[in-house]
Amino acid sequence: MASTDTKRPAGDRDAQDGGDLAGLEAGLDALESVQQGRKPFRQTFVEKILPPAVAVLLVLAVWQALVSFEIVDDPTKLPAPSDVWDVLHQAWLQGELLGYIWTSVSRGLLGFCFALLIGTPLGLLVARVKFVRAAIGPILSGLQSLPSVAWVPPAVIWLGLNNSMMYAVILLGAVPSIANGLVSGVDQVSPIFLRAGRTLGATGLKGTWHIVLPAALPGYVAGLKQGWAFSWRSLMAAEIIASFPDLGVGLGQLLENGRNASDMAMVFEAILLILVVGIAIDLLIFSPLERWVLRSRGLLVKG
């Protein structure tokens, strides 16, 4: 603006300002806004899907080579990939495969949901109440490093060989992860959000509901992810140690059955299924959840 403008009467400038300012602002907004688009599928395929597929194929090739070139020629130690495939295929044809998977997955997810119901309020209590934090905070972190397989013997003695014992082991494995995730999520909430919340009138329970919980969501979701991994591992430990015909055959029992029958193909089948199911649940439920939470806050670094 030229300096002569300063001599204009105020009213004149008022009128001129209105249009000028709106235009100037629109320009600034357009210049500074972040443009975001989704990547094309081809790029996602090349960057995200192709590399792990290549890695898996490589492992299979090495495995097949070990058997084909008779480097390991004892099928009771290392079955051929095709043998494992046959066992899988057979189980599928007999309609047992989905049964194994469902027995374990339903236990795992149900146990995880219980862990969620207990871990969330527990985490909130530890995060927000000083006395509770001092009292059980360290124990809760310590429990995370205790392998949950250690809980199987006492759980069997207390509850017997049944599903409740499985759930108990899952809970003991997953609750600390979920609670700790929420605690660290709450601890990382930026103080500026709490101050802003207070000036808006979000105090006490309102503050917890509208500010603290949503702000802590990224940490909480990370805790859920870890909680699922712990649930799944605990369940497998429980199924392997406490296999009992009446409990139905889950993936852990399948592994144990394979060992008892000295059937290496069956053992490999079980291990593969445990791995694949664990990864699949993470990829289908927890990773998308985490990505959605981070992306909606602009916390996901692209590139």
């Binding site: 300096s3 709106a22 600034l28 309102k206 602009g298």
Partner: protein
């Protein structure tokens, strides 16, 4: 010493309060490494309804502390503060909640004020229009530029419909062009809404550009050093000669205040 913090709720339909904020003999000290440290010393200041006051001072003058006291985020060690209702507060950081869209940020403020659900959406759109961000309702915070974020923050603060808007260096982190534009916006909105503003800054020109009254605080401890009434008609420009002249005078005074601290 007696400490009083009162929220004088002006009931609807009754006489409006004679002030938007009344700060009376307020002192504040914090426990520091060398014992109690006095940050604010006997501050007395009124903000009249509809008035625009800037609090100007060098770092360490406790201007942000004073603002926090007025906002009710902290309590004075002595003296009393009363405000006409709960004041709204804007920070240097936009402090928008990243898990909500721009519109939902505003709606949260409305919701916490008790506005019924059916009215919130319309009110939020109205407020966005006031800060000239029509169409930004569904935008996430990270998709907005710095200037847009501060405007949404302003809309959210206005959503509280407080009689008093407290601003803690809200434009300090913005580039010069954007800051200039936001000065114009703030002046326009202040004149449209007739809200009282208590604006903290260390930028003399900004203080003069915006305010009807500039209050200079001395540092360590913060005391009211001097006051100026700015008679230049609005809208002003930061490059106006009259703004520049008064800024020179105030800067001299501010430098004098700062120099005193080197003379030990």
């Amino acid at each position: 010493m007696a400490t009083t913090t009162t929220l004088a709720k002006a009931a609807e339909g009754t006489e409006p309060a004679a002030y938007a904020a009344r700060i009376e003999h307020v002192s504040k000290s914090f426990a520091g490494p060398a014992g109690q440290q006095l940050v604010l010393d006997d501050i007395t200041l009124d903000v009249a309804p509809g008035e625009f006051v800037t609090l100007l001072g060098a770092s360490g003058c406790g201007k942000s502390t004073l603002l926090n006291l007025v906002a009710g985020l902290d309590k004075p060690s002595a003296g009393g503060i009363s405000t006409d209702g709960r004041p709204a507060l804007m920070f240097q950081e936009h402090a928008l909640f990243p898990w909500l869209t721009a519109g939902k940020n505003i709606e949260l403020a409305l919701r916490l004020r008790g506005v019924p659900k059916s009215e919130r959406r319309d009110k939020a759109e109205e407020l966005l229009e006031l800060v000239r961000l029509k169409g930004a309702y569904g935008k996430r915070v990270h998709e907005l530029s710095g200037g847009m974020r501060q405007r949404v923050a302003m809309a959210r603060a206005l959503a509280q419909e407080s009689k008093l808007l407290l601003m803690d260096e809200p434009f300090a982190a913005l580039d010069a062009i954007t800051r200039d534009v936001l000065h114009d916006e703030l002046t326009r909105i202040w004149r449209e809404t007739k809200v009282s503003v208590l604006f903290v800054t260390h930028n003399v020109r900004e203080a003069v550009r915006l305010a009807e009254r500039v209050v200079l605080l001395s540092s360590r401890p913060g005391r009211v050093a001097r006051e100026w009434t700015v008679g230049i008609p609005q809208p002003r420009r930061i490059e106006d000669t009259a703004v520049a002249e008064l800024s020179v005078e105030i800067t001299e005074e501010l430098r004098g205040e700062i120099r005193r601290h080197g003379q030990h």
